[in-house]
């Protein structure tokens, strides 16, 4: 077809399009884009409103009452801010928050140190590194509950493999290594399992950070005769930092809400030495049935996590911009 023919055809198409009334044109092309966008997005939003937001508002309402879920027929009394006031003055809650802080701090510190070191070593790209990386990644994909449950067996003082290995190395009799029964060891038992499970997670993100550093920067540093030490502190670490931060924030949020692994490994015990915030919440809500009180605690935890999530999203955007 000639060029003139093409132009003619285009012009005809244009005039036909212009002559067609707007609503009809839309019908011809199917649903309008705007309609389609809402048709596609609204089911998700509706589901989240029903399963997440409506219950959230319900919990906010309950947090101002003395409602108990095991006595549904009892009169519900409005108690105002009393639940919140009691939580902030409750010694047990503060102890639980300290336990949570101990758990979050040590797991993140250990996972970041070990995870980054592993990533840094894997980045040497020795033979078979892909295979061994996959092996290292396995623990983080497994169910924390089911694996946490099995660690109870590994931690058994005499018959457990962990106690045996420790006593083999240190010479302390295996019967004396009661990881789950000793008050001072129990908080570390959950740190160890969490570190074992989630170090690969931090490692994987750090590895992505290290691989994102372009080689020419190192080449330039080499030309400038920068020492390896200097290169590490001035190039490797700062450039991988956004990734490390991302991993830290993600682990921070996850471990702040930690429930499954701890619940099955120690159940909060011995006593309440490993009672992290979620365990306290479960005990108050589903064992003491103080629904109003525990709703107030849940709202406080929400607000804390939401704050963390906000920081997280900002950091995430920063990483994305690179």
């Amino acid at each position: 077809m000639t060029e003139a023919g093409l132009t003619m055809l285009n012009r005809t198409a244009d005039s036909v399009a212009r002559a067609t009334p707007e609503p009809l044109a839309r019908k011809v092309r199917g649903i309008s884009d705007k309609g389609l966008a809402w048709l596609f997005i609204s089911p998700t939003i509706l589901l989240l409103l029903a399963i997440n937001i409506f219950p959230l508002f319900w919990a906010i309402y309950l947090s101002f009452t003395n409602y108990r879920a095991n006595r549904p027929n009892e009169m519900v009394k409005n108690v105002g801010l009393a639940n919140y006031r009691r939580i902030l003055g409750d010694q047990d809650i503060w102890i639980a928050m300290q336990t949570t802080a101990h758990f979050v701090f040590w797991t993140i510190l250990l996972q970041t140190l070990i995870g980054f070191t592993l990533a840094w070593l894997i980045d040497r790209k020795f033979r078979g590194h892909a295979f061994w990386t996959t092996i290292i990644l396995v623990p983080m994909m497994l169910s924390p509950a089911v694996v946490g449950n099995f660690w109870r067996f590994l931690y058994e003082p005499q018959i457990g493999l962990f106690a045996y290995a420790i006593s083999f190395v240190t010479g302390i009799p295996a019967t004396q290594i009661g990881m789950l029964s000793n008050v001072s060891l129990a908080p570390w038992s959950i740190v160890i399992v969490d570190t074992w499970m989630w170090t690969p997670y931090v490692m994987l993100i750090c590895l992505a950070g290290l691989r994102s550093i372009p080689e020419y920067i190192y080449e330039a540093a080499e030309v400038d005769r920068a020492s390896n030490w200097r290169q590490f502190w001035s190039i490797t670490l700062p450039m991988a930092l956004p990734f490390i931060m991302l991993a830290v924030l993600f682990r921070g949020i996850e471990n702040f809400k930690m429930f499954d692994m701890v619940n099955l490994l120690t159940g909060g015990g011995p006593g309440s030495t490993t009672e992290v915030a979620s365990i306290t919440l479960k005990r108050q809500a589903f064992e003491s049935w103080r629904t109003g009180y525990s709703s107030a605690f849940a709202i406080i935890l929400f607000v804390a996590v939401f704050g963390l999530a906000n920081i997280y999203v900002k950091a995430l955007n920063k990483v994305k911009q690179r």
């Binding site: 649903i31 705007k34 997005i41 998700t44 959230l56 623990p139 449950n149 099995f150 849940a298 999203v313």
Partner: protein, 316 residues
């Protein structure tokens, strides 16, 4: 040093590679020991499993698996001798302990619940997630960033905090301890991951494909169906596997909201007990069966893993 690496002044030296390799292999081997121990314990007899020192070499037995799938009752040797010959491996194993098989255990129904709930919720989450992700990726949605943040923030809530009102709501609606209730809940949790991951995948598909299709006379919907979906298959598959793994592994909601008919495997496995305490070989057998599908998926997913665990933020 080989010729190829001689080009680069910054390639790691052979020595540093060797040192790094040794440390990584050591770490990998140590970190895999608990899993190998689970696997080994599942083939031990109960006395072997609690022997001191822990037995590394042992006579393998199927007792753990037999105990996992059956309930047993203790009988007198005279009664057992009066029965005919044993009908199977399990029958024989159990009789040695002066017991007879009384019936199937609850493990199979719990495992099937896990399958139904995990696959059901994954299908719903991926279906809704694909539509939303396409909507967010291709159209100017007002307040898109706020909506996306809202979707993500629902995932940040502590599960126990969500469980309190959900527990009350499900009690009112009659959804407590039903597979439908769990599917709805897991869909709501997973849809945030699905939207974020799939938006990343769909963003990577050039718009030109759909535009070309639409010039050819397809409607937007047809263009979505015929050009975008086929190209997003890998992304959709990866997302589905991530949703599946989450639903499969989930414990907190399952433990609080299901107790019988709809209970999944994670809250069930810790409750397996034998005579005089936990029957560790049976627990190990249940754990092994429960973990194997995830191991397979991890290997399939290893290239997409990074993306999945960071909600699509890091893409390599």
């Amino acid at each position: 040093m080989s010729l190829t690496s001689a080009h680069s002044v910054v390639a790691p030296s052979v020595v540093s590679k060797r040192v790094a390799g040794t440390i990584i292999v050591l770490y990998a081997l140590i970190s895999i020991v608990p899993l190998l121990w689970i696997f080994a314990t599942s083939f031990k007899t109960p006395p072997d499993s609690i022997a001191y020192p822990p037995k590394i070499l042992f006579q393998p037995s199927l007792e753990g698996y037999c105990n996992l799938f059956s309930t047993r009752t203790r009988q007198t040797p005279e009664y057992i001798n009066s029965l005919g010959p044993a009908t199977g491996v399990c029958d024989e194993t159990v009789r040695k302990r002066n017991m007879v098989i009384a019936g199937p255990s609850n493990f199979m129904p719990r495992f099937v619940n896990s399958l139904i709930i995990a696959f059901g919720s994954t299908f719903c989450a991926v279906f809704l997630g694909t539509l939303s992700a396409y909507g967010f990726s291709r159209f100017k949605v007002p307040l898109a960033d706020d909506l996306l943040f809202f979707i993500l923030s629902t995932r940040m809530m502590p599960p126990i905090a969500v469980a309190i009102p959900i527990y009350l709501m499900y009690r009112e609606l009659g959804l407590s301890d039903t597979a439908l209730g769990m599917i709805l809940l897991y869909t709501a949790v997973n849809v945030s991951l699905a939207v974020w991951l799939l938006k990343g995948f769909i963003d990577e598909i050039p718009r030109e494909y759909e535009e070309a299709a639409m010039i050819d006379g397809y409607t937007r919907l047809q263009a979505f169906w015929r050009t975008v979906l086929p190209q997003a298959t890998t992304g959709i598959a990866a997302t589905a596997i991530f949703c599946l793994i989450f639903a499969w592994n989930e414990y907190a909601f399952a433990a609080l909201l299901t107790s019988g008919t709809a209970q999944t495997a994670p809250p069930f496995i810790p409750t397996i007990i034998g005579e005089g305490g936990q029957d560790w070989p049976a627990v190990a057998a249940g754990t092994t069966i429960f973990l194997v599908p995830i191991l397979v998926f991890t290997i399939l997913l290893r290239k997409q893993l990074l993306r999945g665990i960071t909600f699509g933020a890091v893409r390599k």
